[in-house]
Symmetry: C2
Subunit: 333 residues, 2 copies
């Protein structure tokens, strides 16, 4: 049986309200009683029951974080950004992993709400649209990361995928490449679609005809990247460069290229996207686009806190540009 505020009050010979006052640093309590109370708190190793406090305050100082896939390579950095910033504001973070299952995600939202979290951060995938609308209607603070708020229903932290796609492709173009392949998650994901748009834009701008054969689609995995690259390598006129819409795909492409005895960047140059941890560890080090995941994680909390402060939904949309990280996987022609 851990001590309660009543125990403290009795032991210190005061009322519970007085104890509560010092607990919450309220004024109007004499120095002496204050010290006496503080002492007995230490003495009994008392710590307020947050559950009871939450019940009366109707807030928990907890924010929920639902990752659609906790094994996503971007998760750790993002999560750390969230945790660090949340802590600054005095919030704890409750994580859920939806396993890419939107039904699970819906459950998580319900659970989080019933636990009276003060806000929710959703990340990665396309969410249940109706759930989001419900949240929005109830003015419940939510922000989503890496998701496109189709009709700006809720506040979003996003990255500028089109610009990034353009950036990566343009770099290859500037390096002298004209036959540039693209491995993409395509229409499966919003981000893949947008990055492809950037890729197309760069080529068009450079007056290079789009060759549909150079664009191959797959899910976001090493295996898929490998298969896609193999198809590219099988082309009669194969590309001299590749822009992969995700580092994981680029890594798969590495496999395919190196397995054929080809060299990177000697024969094929590669640019990825995301700058996941592995990017700087593989050989040759992967030139890719950094998306500042740690910063994004922090920003999402800032935005959520803001969202919690205002009365009604704001539907802000912050989009962050990426930055090219030049390493060793591109050959300058």
């Amino acid at each position: 049986m851990t001590a309660t505020i009543i125990d403290i009050a009795k032991k210190a010979g005061v009322s519970v309200s007085t104890v509560s006052r010092v607990l919450n640093n309220k004024p109007d309590v004499s120095k002496e009683t204050q010290e006496r109370i503080r002492a007995t708190i230490k003495d009994l190793d008392y710590s307020p029951n947050k559950v009871a406090r939450n019940l009366v305050l109707k807030r928990s100082n907890v924010i929920g974080f639902i990752a659609s896939d906790i094994t996503n390579a971007s998760f750790p950095e993002l999560a750390r950004g969230v945790v660090v910033k949340a802590k600054e504001y005095g919030y704890s973070v409750m994580f859920f992993d939806a396993h890419k299952d939107s039904r699970v995600e819906k459950e998580a939202i319900g659970l989080l709400r019933s636990k009276q979290v003060d806000g929710i951060i959703l990340s990665f995938n396309e969410a249940n649209r109706d759930e989001l609308l419900k949240l929005r209607d109830e003015n419940f603070p939510v922000v989503q990361i890496y998701r496109k708020s189709s009709e700006s229903m809720i506040s979003t932290i996003a990255i500028d995928n089109v610009a990034n796609g353009y950036l990566g492709t343009k770099y290859l173009l500037d390096a002298g490449h004209t036959r540039i392949g693209h491995i993409t998650t395509g229409d499966l994901t919003q981000s893949g679609y947008e990055r492809k748009l950037g890729y197309l834009k760069a080529l068009t701008e450079a007056n290079i005809d789009i060759d549909e054969n150079l664009i191959v689609e797959g899910v976001s995995s090493v295996e898929a990247g490998r298969e896609c690259m193999e198809r590219l390598l099988d082309l009669k006129s194969r590309p001299t460069a590749l822009f992969a819409s995700h580092d994981v795909l680029a890594i798969g492409a590495y496999d395919a290229i190196l397995d054929r005895g080809l060299s990177i960047p000697g024969d094929i140059s590669v640019v990825g996207h995301d700058n996941i941890e592995i990017a700087k560890m593989i050989r040759p080090r992967l030139t890719t686009i950094d998306t500042f995941k740690y910063t994004l994680g922090q920003a999402s909390v800032d935005l959520l806190i803001e969202e919690m402060a205002v009365e009604s939904h704001q539907c802000k949309e912050l989009v962050y540009p990426g930055e090219l990280v030049v390493r060793d996987s591109v050959r300058i022609l």
Copy 2:
């Protein structure tokens, strides 16, 4: 204003107790009233306030998970194992990242307890010994992963580091190598120390004299792995093989080896430990020791649940053997 149990009771024309009964699937409530209540619950989109429930039940169905470093490469798989298994038991997981700071870890423990979590899982590092003792004294359910419970104070899920160190080294020995270097986190970490023990044991068993120059210490990072390997490479008589006590170290070693124009496994064979995701992506694919992180995560929850069921601490210690994953980084002589 979300609906409460009272609203349901009023609307359905019954008492709160009856509503509570159907909410908790208790017997003794007529089919009709049951259905009527269920209907109004649906109608008002009511969901019980878990905070209030926790307050009276003195349990939260939440387990706390404190990672000493959320960016640890083993974290995602471990975390997923924990989340998945916890969910099976009807528990949610609250994550904390201690940033390798034991002071932060202590805070997290306090916070988790004040939030009335039903148990705590600690992972990776050496914990605050006194905090653990306190938890133990209060019979609060805790299990630690990857930590050595020095005096078996609390239940532990561990891996057999000595056996793993032996396993990795023995494999190299069997492949015909006799001059085997070892990069280790050394005495900095319990696990590093133990794996080194396994390394020494294998060599001794094979009647090979221990050459202290072949054992280099560093922190667990790619950079450190690189530096350590460079020292090994600078030796007048350099090793033909390396056992790294962590894949991250092995990856750093790769850098050093390849930068000198040496080949893996042509000139130097490498065996790592942990089988982190990157291990199968780098070239050559790293032969390493798998530690079944996902399984360990699940096992830790099983153990915690068990711990919560019994009255007093059990201090069970489950140790899991690792398994060699043969890939392409070792040359058979």
